[in-house]
Symmetry: C2
Subunit: 117 residues, 2 copies
DNA sequence: GGCATATTCAACCATCCGGTTGACGATTGC
DNA sequence: GCAATCGTCAACCGGATGGTTGAATATGCC
């Protein structure tokens, strides 16, 4: 796994990690807060965050005993360019993206296990 | 692995599979021809193609004893929309894409093992 | 100092993944 | 009919992944 695209796409292939990225869209978060909505151990989330950081999709900065996670959307640029080359997609459709978020975001108001089923 | 994004991103995470997609950009190909530039067994390539087909990134149609593989760029649309939402990337830059292809495409003129290493 | 909080480390487990080889099922062509 | 070609299936292997638990390491607070 040398190519950056490998690690980026692999990181994006997991629904938990995509959900985390969606959460970080709204604001930077501490590890514990990231983990809160998931029914998964903190260590598990910590691993996911390490993978996201390894792919450059987030950065983590420790302030005091709290480690803050910050989205790094630039890391997606290369992957996005690669993908768009195949589809000649029309210009970004943010409405479609909103719909995606609605479908993908952990239902912050109920139990949640990343995906319904 | 239920979400289509899971399978699409997972399929894209492998350099062999991305190389195959790049090859199919140019034209539809038979399985044997897809396999030719790789130093990998036909069965191995066949598995990769099955994964790409499972993600909807290609379709396969059998004509006679030859199975033709066809790129299905539409399958990337959802993933592309998802990604672009994070970056608000500037409009598609096809030049950047060409550079990517140049870097990623199997060097059809030498041995090749997906990545030079 | 001593306890609580925040996060990771280490070991472990089950499962998936990428790859191989060898046998097999279709299809074509002589 | 028979042999060659195209492609997949099945079994197997080693290594990565996603998850767990329990101990360990920092840091903050009183």
């Amino acid at each position: 796994m040398t190519d950056p695209l490998d690690t980026v796409f692999a990181a994006l292939a997991d629904p938990t990690r995509r959900a985390i990225l969606s959460m970080l869209l709204e604001d930077d978060m501490a590890v514990t807060d990231v983990a809160e909505p998931f029914q998964m151990s903190l260590a598990g989330i910590s691993k996911h965050l390490a993978i996201l950081a390894g792919a450059g999709l987030i950065t983590q900065e420790k302030r005091g005993r709290v480690k803050w996670c910050k989205l790094e959307p630039d890391a997606l640029r290369a992957a996005s360019v690669w993908m768009q080359g195949f589809g000649q997609f029309e210009p970004v459709n943010l409405d479609a993206f909103e719909r995606f978020l609605a479908a993908e975001l952990p239902g912050e108001d109920e139990g949640l296990a990343v995906q319904g089923d």
